[in-house]
């Protein structure tokens, strides 16, 4: 257990139930001050519910949340000065212009980041005179990010900040966030992009069905998963060979079968083992895709074959 003052966020045994659906179940984790922390998981894993319980927008049914030493409900007045929030859904009047929103939000905080810096870094210079309702999805997302950061918060909570952003703005966003982080801002974000989590986050929390499926620094998660490589074989060229044959190979950790392919996850000898096995059976698989294991693979192993679009809130 780390000393409390080193923590930006401490969540203990959090539980939230909607009717008969358990959205978050006995969830515990900690976030160090000055770190970038990402929550990943399929839709319905409980990420948004968790982050909204932390922000004080939802009341947990059980458990506790401490943000920078403050209770989000009991210490509300100090708490809201500590945090910056980007909600997943919209929260700006459609007829409000971007410039007006930025000025309004900046006026609410004791300190603020320069609005020209924010609009420049997030590519909003051309949108300042536009009404929020007339913006594209990506522009709205960038406005909401700017509003979350304009108060120069100690801790920023960003719920899927890069969803809907094109690759250039995703890159610019994360690079800007890294700079803010280097100035001391703690970042807590949810994302569906594994490559972002691996590249930019100090720690990730992989959630599934409201619980922690795995947590830790991305590279350590990959190392601890026992995965070193992934091989994809087209099913049509393998004849009678099936999932069980491939799963029985030494070093194979998991085989995921889709309509067209076998996705084989395994250790450092996986490529050689699969190649030898196919040669022995006289099978020529045609196009074979092989690559080192990454966070996507850890994710798939942790959440199983669950439909990534399905699930609960």
């Amino acid at each position: 257990m780390r000393p409390t003052n080193a923590l930006a966020l401490q969540v203990k045994s959090l539980r939230k139930v909607y009717g008969d659906v358990v959205a978050v179940d006995d969830l515990s984790f900690e976030v160090e001050r000055g770190s970038i922390f990402c929550m990943i998981g399929p839709n319905g894993a409980g990420k948004t519910t968790t982050i909204e319980c932390i922000e004080g927008l939802r009341k947990p049914d059980a458990g506790s949340v401490v943000v920078a030493g403050l209770d989000p409900m009991a210490d509300r007045a100090r708490f809201v000065h500590t945090i910056g929030v980007q909600l997943q859904d919209v929260g700006i009047p459609p007829r409000m212009k971007v410039r007006e929103a930025l000025r309004l939000f900046a006026s609410l905080y004791r300190t603020s980041i320069s609005q020209s810096e924010l609009t420049d870094e997030l590519g909003l210079d051309g949108s300042l005179r536009k009404q929020y309702g007339s913006l594209s999805g990506g522009q709205k997302r960038r406005v909401n990010i700017a509003l979350a950061l304009v108060g120069n918060p100690e801790i920023a909570f960003l719920d899927e900040p890069t969803t809907g952003l094109d690759p250039e703005y995703r890159f610019r966003f994360w690079e800007y966030l890294k700079r803010q982080n280097s100035r001391g801002m703690t970042i807590v974000a949810t994302t569906h992009y594994m490559e972002e989590a691996r590249e930019y986050c100090d720690e990730v929390l992989l959630m599934n069905e409201g619980r922690v499926a795995a947590s830790g620094p991305p590279e350590r998660l990959i190392a601890e998963s026992g995965l070193a490589a992934r091989v994809v074989l087209p099913r049509a060229t393998l004849g009678t060979l099936g999932e069980d044959d491939l799963a029985a190979l030494p070093g194979v950790v998991h085989v995921r079968t889709t309509e067209t392919s076998f996705y084989i996850y395994g250790d450092g000898n996986l490529v050689g083992d699969v190649s030898d096995f196919l040669s022995e059976r006289g099978v020529s698989p045609g196009v074979v895709e092989a690559r080192p294991a990454n966070l996507d693979d850890v994710y798939f192993l942790a959440v199983g074959n669950q439909d990534p679009q399905g699930g609960r809130k």
Binding site: E55, I83, G91, R95, M96, K97, R103, L104, L108, G151
Partner: protein, 262 residues
């Protein structure tokens, strides 16, 4: 939060209202149009007015039109436009978004209330300019008392609108509900036509509607009536003032209890 936050919010919400043509039309353009239409058609008709326990004086219809119009402007802004704006904030997640900022809760209601006061004042000013310039209307009351009566009337309707829509998440529902409350009040209060011509049952219903009290309070004070003068309801002016004040207090309490952020 710096000291300009409330001013910034009021300024921003004023701009939002100015970009909402329906709110400007119902609260500023429509009352002016009705004022002009009635002023030109029946404005010259003379009416006897009891100003102080039997002291009857002759006025013209045009002299009371403005006060009557302001009564229903406070009602339509309080019951229709203000709740519409608040429910839109709830529907679009604006309240939720503000809740995770240092914005104090009181600002959420103080800003739109102030915006409403500005709109009503603008409507009043426009009708005054036209009234004096075109119809040479006569004002026989005490300006401070009339301003106080307009304020109490506005508070009563705003609180009523906020309480009724405290949990509504859909703007169309709020709009429909607003007119369900406003339309019968408009017809039965005397704003639409003389209450003396209504069947007895409708007059009794009208006696208990807040717009009737607002209409009588404003028109009698505008014409210089004292607190004891009997209104069309059959009660003294002070009763209508108290009635609206109590309604405002009760609805504020109900709205505070029922209010939902989302």
């Amino acid at each position: 939060m710096n000291s300009t936050a409330l001013g910034r919010l009021i300024h921003t919400e004023l701009l939002l209202v100015a970009r909402e043509p329906a709110a400007v039309f119902t609260s500023v353009i429509l009352p002016l149009a009705i004022f002009l239409a009635l002023g030109f058609s029946v404005g010259g008709v003379e009416i006897p007015v009891d100003r102080d326990a039997g002291v009857v004086e002759m006025f013209h219809v045009r002299d009371v039109l403005l006060a009557g119009n302001i009564a229903w402007v406070t009602a339509i802004f309080g019951i229709v436009s203000l709740p519409q704006a608040l429910v839109a904030f709830r529907q679009h997640g604006v309240f939720r978004r503000y809740r995770v900022t240092p914005m104090p809760s009181y600002m959420l209601i103080a800003a739109p209330l102030t915006v409403g006061a500005v709109v009503i004042t603008a409507s009043l000013a426009l009708m005054l300019v036209v009234g004096w310039g075109v119809f040479d209307i006569r004002f026989a009351g005490n300006a401070a008392l009339v301003a106080l009566a307009i304020f109490v009337s506005y508070m009563a309707f705003a609180a009523l609108g906020a309480a009724v829509t405290a949990r509504i998440r859909n703007v169309r529902t709020a709009l429909g509900l607003g007119f369900v409350f406003f339309a019968p009040m408009y017809v039965l209060s005397g704003s639409f036509g003389p209450r003396e011509t209504f069947p007895a049952a409708l007059r009794v219903v009208g006696d208990w509607l807040p717009l009737t009290h607002s209409y009588d309070l404003l028109t009698f004070l505008w014409l210089g009536g004292t607190w004891e003068v009997e209104t069309t309801i059959g009660t003294p002016i002070w009763f209508s003032f108290v009635y609206l004040g109590v309604l405002a207090a009760a609805c504020v309490a109900a709205a505070a209890r029922l209010f939902r952020w989302d």
